[in-house]
């Protein structure tokens, strides 16, 4: 270095002073930056990490395919089809107003709504679940920023057929019927994938993109679409010809109460469920309860036979249409002279039914009504079931008398049909059910109710009740239910509708519940017509509908015609069975000895009859 002179040294000192000032300023500046970094990266780290995650991460839900619902013969009732949801990446949409004006008519939404959506930031669904044809009409190349994503949509290829049973699925969730009840199984499992988004909302990374959505299980129903169709058609036509307000049909397989058909009217189309109100969507077969009327006399007869207090051929005084029970005076629908019990039931004498019920006793009747499942939901695999109304207090004579001809209590069509199924199968109450199997990826799982039902009445009683009910169809009020070639057992019922102010003058419920073929039951069918106008009796209104449905159904099922249609043949459940029988000892003898012995053994002796009758 040169030896600087004194002036140069002074100058350099001054430089150094200025340099120190500048370096102090720069140092302070750097210090400020360091403090700021500390503030951001140590104190604020958690907050900023969360903010970063919020804008970078997002969840993409991959929806599974919803399971198909099949009828008993494998016909598709509810299927999921691919549809296309129109999305817009709004940042890329030029002239939202123009796009909205062009798109809105194609997708069937209002122009204002589409435009409002297009003015939102990010990725916005403009129209959900469009069908292929609709989607094809939209030329995406003409609308930059618009794109489609596939989504599945529920379709019901059979339209309104068994709409109440199937229910329906809304845009994102199931709302009613089996769709709702079995949603956990049918919906499948969606997969939520965490993905990173970039600043332009594009998906960038899919870390751990494992797992495909699990498709939903298929449902196999007990309902046969053909039988269901027969039921719905007859129901619709009957309601039309009698100008009735509503109605329902329930068909059960008596051996295990599998539901073969369940129809309710008015009905709706689940493909456009939004167009219908609660009145159409109501499943009257189990959501409404009615006073059963004379159809309930079957229960009374079962009680009387079970206690052996009445013999079918016993002469009973029908009191010329009047009876006094306690303080109540009950009139019959028309006066009857002395009749055998069989004929009295065939002609539907209330007085006679009351006498039988009182002979059986209040306690027996109350127990039996409960054992048949009245007053409690059946537990079928559908929601919204009504339990019906059965007086809970200990029954007195009047309650029993009214209940004996089906008054003073309310039952759902399903409960009543199931009680007849109980009689038809020899006395065992089973829980009715609609879904027999779930099919998951080819693996079929049996989901029928596992525990056997409980015995309500003996086989002998059941058999006698059926013989009694045969007479109704042969010569009584149910003659219009008779089917050529088959024995049919059944009971008519015409009940007055009650409301808050008491029994109504005009409102009637016409019903018929039948078993066919009577001696080898394959079908139990209830027909209930609400407020028919031209005629109101069960025998005139409901019995013909039963006849139409069941004659065609038996033909469809290829049921063997009864060997002695008008005579006697042994019910299947009385034929020798491999399993030990549960009935009383004399039935076993009867089963082995054949029909004559059976008739002899289970019939109460004359002495018993008179004792029982005299004691009332």
């Amino acid at each position: 270095m040169n030896a600087p002179g004194p002036r140069a040294r002074r100058v350099r000192r001054r430089y150094v002073g200025r340099l120190v000032v500048f370096m102090v300023v720069a140092g302070l500046w750097m210090g400020a930056i360091a403090v700021r970094l500390f503030d951001l990266q140590i104190r604020g780290a958690d907050e900023y990490r969360e903010r970063a995650a919020r804008q970078q991460r997002s969840e993409v839900v991959l929806n599974p395919k919803r399971g198909t619902i099949y009828d008993a013969r494998g016909r598709s009732l509810a299927v999921s089809v691919e549809t296309h949801t129109l999305y817009a990446e709004t940042a890329k949409v030029e002239k939202p107003a123009v796009v909205a004006a062009e798109i809105a008519p194609l997708v069937g939404r209002s122009r204002e709504r589409i435009e409002a959506l297009l003015n939102k930031p990010g990725h916005v669904p403009l129209a959900r679940k469009l069908d292929r044809e609709v989607a094809d009409r939209i030329d995406l190349s003409a609308f930059p920023g618009l794109y489609f994503l596939d989504e599945s949509k529920r379709k019901y290829p059979m339209g309104s057929l068994m709409a109440h049973v199937l229910g329906f699925v809304g845009t994102d969730r199931s709302l009613a019927g089996l769709e709702y009840r079995y949603d956990t199984e049918v919906a499948g499992e969606a997969v939520r994938r965490h993905v990173l988004r970039d600043g332009q909302q594009r998906l960038v990374v899919v870390p751990g993109s494992l797992g495909e959505p699990k498709p939903g299980a298929d449902l196999h129903l007990t309902i046969d679409a053909t039988i269901q169709h027969l039921a719905e058609r007859a129901l619709r036509e009957t309601i039309a010809s009698y100008d009735a307000s509503a109605g329902s049909v329930v068909i059960l397989a008596p051996e295990d109460s599998a539901v073969l058909a369940m129809a309710s009217y008015p009905t709706f189309d689940p493909n456009r469920f939004g167009d219908f109100g609660p009145n159409e969507r109501r499943n009257r077969a189990l959501q409404d309860s009615y006073e059963p009327g004379s159809t309930f006399k079957t229960i009374t007869a079962a009680g009387a036979f079970e206690r052996s207090v009445v013999h079918p051929d016993q002469i009973m005084d029908c009191g010329n249409g009047r009876i006094r029970v306690g303080k109540a005076r009950i009139k019959d629908h028309k006066p009857f002279p002395e009749l055998t019990f069989r004929t009295a039931i065939a002609k539907s004498s209330n007085v006679c039914a009351i006498k039988a019920g009182l002979l059986a006793g209040s306690e027996t009747m109350q127990e039996l009504v409960t054992a048949f499942g009245f007053g409690e939901v059946t537990g079928i695999d559908l929601d919204g079931e009504h339990p019906g109304i059965v007086p809970l207090r200990v029954w007195d004579q009047e309650t029993t008398a009214y209940a004996s001809f089906g008054h003073g209590l309310a039952v759902t069509p399903l409960q009543l049909a199931n009680a007849y199924a109980t009689v038809a199968n020899g006395g065992v109450w089973n829980r009715p059910y609609l879904v027999r199997a779930l099919e998951r990826e080819g693996e079929v799982v049996d989901v029928r109710p596992r525990n056997r039902g409980h015995r309500v009445i003996s086989k002998a009683t059941a058999y006698r009740v059926i013989r009694l009910l045969e007479e109704v169809v042969v010569s009584g009020t149910g003659r219009k239910a008779a089917i050529a070639g088959y024995r049919v057992a059944g009971k008519t019922g015409t009940a007055e509708k009650s409301d808050a102010s008491g029994y109504s003058e005009t409102g009637r419920v016409a019903g018929f519940v039948g078993i066919a073929p009577a001696r080898a039951p394959r079908l139990v069918c209830l027909v209930m017509i609400d407020e028919p106008t031209v005629s109101t009796s069960g025998g005139e209104v409901a019995a013909p509908a039963f006849q139409r449905i069941i004659s065609e159904a038996l033909f469809y099922l290829g049921a063997t015609p009864s060997r002695q249609p008008m005579g006697w043949s042994q019910p299947v459940w009385l034929q020798p069975a491999p399993a030990p029988l549960e009935g009383p000892p004399q039935i076993r003898v009867a089963a082995a000895a054949g029909q004559a012995a059976a008739d002899q053994d289970i019939a109460p002796t004359e002495g018993e009859l008179w004792t029982a009758a005299g004691s009332s």
């Binding site: 430089y15 370096m23 400020a32 951001l40 990266q41 140590i42 970063a52 990173l196 332009q200 594009r202």
Partner: protein, 358 residues
Amino acid sequence: MARKLAIDKVLFTVVVLLVVGGLVMVYSANPPDPDGGFKRQFVTQLLAAVVGLAAMLVLMSIDYRSWAKPWLAYAGLGASLVLLVAVLAAAPINGSSRWLSVGPLTFQPSELAKIAVVVFIAYQIHRCPEGVSQPRVLVPCGLAVGLVTLLVLQAPDFGSAALILGIAGVMLFLAGLSWRWIVPAMVVLPGLFALFIWAEPYRRERLLGFLSPENDPSGNGFQVLQSLIAIGSGGVTGQGLGESAQKLYFLPLATSDFIFSIVSEELGLLGAVAVLAAFAVLAWRGYVAGHRAPDAFGRFLAWGLTSAVLIQALVNVSVTVGLVPVTGTPLPFLSHGGSSLVMTLIACGLLLSVSEHG
């Protein structure tokens, strides 16, 4: 003649480390090419680094005093002015005429102007050993800086103009400019600045966006907010090299003006402090080199160039941490940008030459 000293190994090492670190960060911050090609920004940066380092090696082996010629000072200035005029005539890129295209190469004349201004002022101070507070020095300096600044403003490149003005001010301040000049300048210039900012709506919005970034996260406050999110989410140790999520189009200019945010996100507080420390060491060695320089030209060349790099770095980092409004100043060595890297390395070559020949 001064004896030839050994090269400043610390300074040289810091420069090389910054260049290498810059390449790594540009590689990391460069988002995947949408067309599927290789990271283009990284490739251009690598080429610029090679060219710049070669220029640095050449310059550091030449005695800086051979540059202390009047013709060179004026020629450098003249060339800068010509190029600055030429760039205004060129087609604008991103709404501003900052870049000059020659075939596949683009060049930013304002980067050359920075060095030319430093050399020019250093020469003027060198020319008048009596002091700088006299018209003989101030008039040519004022004219040169004024012209360059006005032309750069036309680009418009407010950040570079302010930077050139600041570097010139710092050089004159260090040269012992009388307070009689400094005080009025410190009153008048900020006033002019305020007026200038307020006159242009986009600058005003930038300033307002800076004052309250939360109010408008998708508009002008967006860049700063995204930068803060990047830096904050880095924490102490960072997300890991290459793991930045903010670079995926959240943070605009992730490879250039906001590369420090990516450094902070990927390498955390440790990485951020390391970058600051590197600039501190560079500044320290630069000022020491100037202090040891035997003549005024060498001293002010070194101090001017060191100040230019330091101030740019401080301004850029201050922008990323939200201390200063967005100016568009790159971070020397690290930000993607060929002109900036080559010119910074040329400055380092001169700086090393001063340290070597002190």
